[in-house]
Symmetry: C2
DNA sequence: TAGTTGCTTGTTATCGATAAAAAGCCGACA
DNA sequence: TGTCGGCTTTTTATCGATAACAAGCAACTA
């Protein structure tokens, strides 16, 4: 059976939406709500039905009116809104990166399924999707093997990353000055400066900005394989940032400075300068990952 | 329930092995057979049991003796030795590349499952693995969409291919003349010349040689992500070769000539010459794929 | 004593069923 | 006439069961 996490998430989002609206206001149409919450109208109706039956909303003809304030404890708990497959991802990454997994270790589907409280199918599906990250390996009829989050892994990952990003960065040198890309770059530069100004409080916001910045560079010449690869980078860094908090503020401040130098180089449209700034920043990012204590 | 294709394949392989041995010869140990057929001893024993019960073998103490000639019709039919997941792969590629699938088309799991005679799980698993080829796309809770085997696809594929292969080919210029790689390269060159000499009869063997040649080049500096990407190339070309037989002999003869020029360039260890030969061959390979009638 | 076989236990591949969610249909209303 | 909402149909996510296969154990033989 499917989990009803889509419903529960939509329910919570709808509560937020309704809370933001004064009492006695009529709600938008089901189609609009469906678009706003990114779920099907079927799910919207299920949520609305529940809200009406709880008396938060009142049905008047075709309209639904906000009847009273939403109690603060009406939301579903966050743990209930996580689908089985998301659950598997988080738990698996934790198992792999924080547990005592060793390179070469056998991965047991049934065992993980029980540990994570899901069916074996969910594990299999995750492992199949996860294979492309290059950390596990399959032997047909005989299960999966963990290859290890090793130094080699980080080196291979960054070799490709550099190959791709140098190719994209080089394109900037050829771009027409009227290209809308420059506006977007200026925009990103401003965001970097703003973040740098309040780095002490907001250093945790860098992870997201970093992600957007590199995706932006690689998007000048769109290629689905590069985009796919960048998902690997994002994923690895997501968990890296989450679990390696050491010197985080310091690290991010350095990275922002490198980004700004990189942006200057891009704006100069000087091939040499671009290549240098790109290499320099990626080398430092690689070092950060290599320093990660979990890497052995 | 699992299919018993492993058993059936092992059975056929064992028949071939037994046929190659004179009557009254004792068979090797179960462990040796297991290694020879790349299946577990459990499966070996199941096969041997059947062969004994059919009277092809005779148990004498601990030894199993070849008792009589294997009838030519003893093998399982090839169709019986294809596991569900292999079945799905072949049928899906046929459905996608030869049917009337259109870019943007919805892919229906249950429908395909029925069409291919497998459970829905098998289809899901295949689609998840197939996603990395960049030809399909998933919308959560709402199925898969076929993106189309388009010109853009071929362009993006070859852009990466060129990026990777130029990087590997460039390494050859730096290699020490005593490196074992040169021996291997000479070996491959000889295979090309042999094939060229009898191109009229053996032009179909090129596909395999092509695959080995490019994998060899990319292996000078091993990187799991490049190897993974090369699987995509191999896969696409596998089906391309299988279904586009037009001018095959002619095409392959040209490609061999390009390979030989490429090999010359590598041996010269001249950066410029290597880059030129590599680009030239890949451009022509791209053109071959683009000319494929199924590309729209 | 190392390698063998018979037997037992652990693990994967595959199916079918079912509730959740999406998508389609159609009359009604504004 | 186009959007809306009630209802029906289609499709996906997830589970648990089961036979096939792999791997481990222990007694045996050469």
């Amino acid at each position: 059976m499917k989990t009803d996490t889509v419903y529960k998430q939509a329910f919570n989002a709808m509560l937020d939406l309704v809370s933001g609206v004064p009492i006695e206001t009529p709600l938008p149409s089901e189609n609009e709500l469906s678009a706003a919450l990114s779920v099907s109208r079927t799910t919207v109706r299920k949520v609305l039905g529940e809200l009406v039956s709880r008396g938060y909303l009142r049905q008047e003809g075709r309209q639904r009116i906000v009847a009273r304030l939403i109690p603060p404890d009406a939301h579903f708990a966050n743990t209930e809104t996580i689908s089985a497959s998301e659950q598997v991802e988080t738990r698996f990454m934790e198992w792999m990166l924080r547990g005592d997994t060793r390179p070469g270790q056998q991965i047991n589907e049934l065992d993980l399924a029980r540990q994570f409280g899901v069916g074996t199918t969910g594990i299999r599906e995750f492992l199949n999707r996860f294979r492309r990250f290059g950390l596990i390996e399959k032997r047909p009829n005989a299960g999966w093997r963990f290859k290890g989050f090793t130094v080699d892994y980080a080196m291979e990952l960054f070799e490709i990353r550099e190959l791709f990003e140098l190719r994209s960065a080089a394109v900037f040198a050829e771009l027409d000055p009227t290209d809308p890309v420059w506006r977007e770059l200026a925009n990103l530069e401003a965001q970097h400066r703003t973040l740098l100004a309040s780095i002490d409080e907001r250093f945790q916001d860098f992870s997201d900005l970093d992600n957007r910045f590199h995706r932006f560079i690689n998007a000048v010449l769109p290629n689905r394989f590069i985009e796919d690869f960048y998902e690997i980078i994002s994923f690895i860094f997501h968990y890296h940032y989450q679990w390696n908090k050491q010197d985080e503020r310091q690290r991010n401040e350095v990275a922002i400075a490198e980004h700004l130098a990189y942006i200057e180089a891009l704006k100069s449209r000087d091939r040499r300068a671009i290549e240098l700034a790109c290499r320099r920043h990626l080398a430092s990012a690689k070092q950060t990952l290599l320093n990660s204590t979990r890497l052995r």
